[in-house]
């Protein structure tokens, strides 16, 4: 059980690191939102799942599961709202030819 928890946490950390590299390197607010929204949801959910598995099957397992479902539902909503505001206020994605 501990090894499964370690595996899930390390996998989630990989996704979090990839997401923050994308946040650092990508040129555009839309591509940055792409990097953040996808990898951040999956990475945080995997790390929380690892912690829940490490906790064992009791009341705390269910509580961590509630936080997990909450992140998995709310994180895409926040990214979508922010990017819709960016698009409606006049920002446009850059493409390769326009540089």
């Amino acid at each position: 059980m501990t090894w499964l928890a370690i595996f899930l946490i390390v996998l989630g950390l990989f996704f979090l690191v990839v997401g923050s590299i994308g946040m650092l390197r990508l040129p555009d607010v839309f591509s940055r939102a792409h990097a953040l929204s996808l990898t951040d949801s999956l990475g945080a959910v995997l790390v929380l799942a690892g912690l829940a598995v490490y906790e064992g099957f009791n009341m705390n397992f269910l509580r961590i599961l509630v936080v997990l479902v909450l992140i998995y539902l709310l994180n895409p909503v926040i990214s979508h709202a922010t990017i819709r505001a960016a698009y409606r206020s006049g920002l446009r994605p850059t493409d390769k030819e326009s540089k």
Partner: protein, 90 residues
């Protein structure tokens, strides 16, 4: 196992510094909002991690639930406000 949790905590803190760089430097205001969103997601994970290290998950999980809901309300309010205000973003 506690050492492993400590290493994970350090890595996530360094990642929060990366997002903080984006919050400070970001060209438009939406970059800053996205960076704050990433920081708060990592803060939620960090709270549950600290609770597991101290063996008080039952307390820390409630704090992180409240933090997630506050993050949603704040981010949606900022997004709505910027959407109505228009493009003058700095």
């Amino acid at each position: 196992m506690n050492t492993f949790f400590f290493v994970v905590l350090t890595i996530i803190t360094v990642l929060m510094l990366v997002y903080f760089y984006r919050v400070v430097r970001g060209p438009s205001v939406f970059d800053r909002v996205l960076g704050l969103n990433g920081i708060s997601t990592k803060a939620i994970v960090l709270l549950v991690l600290i609770g597991t290290m101290f063996e008080r998950v039952d307390m820390f999980v409630d704090i992180s639930t409240g933090y997630a809901l506050l993050n949603l309300v704040g981010a949606l309010a900022i997004a709505k406000f910027l959407e109505e205000r228009g493009a003058s973003s700095e």
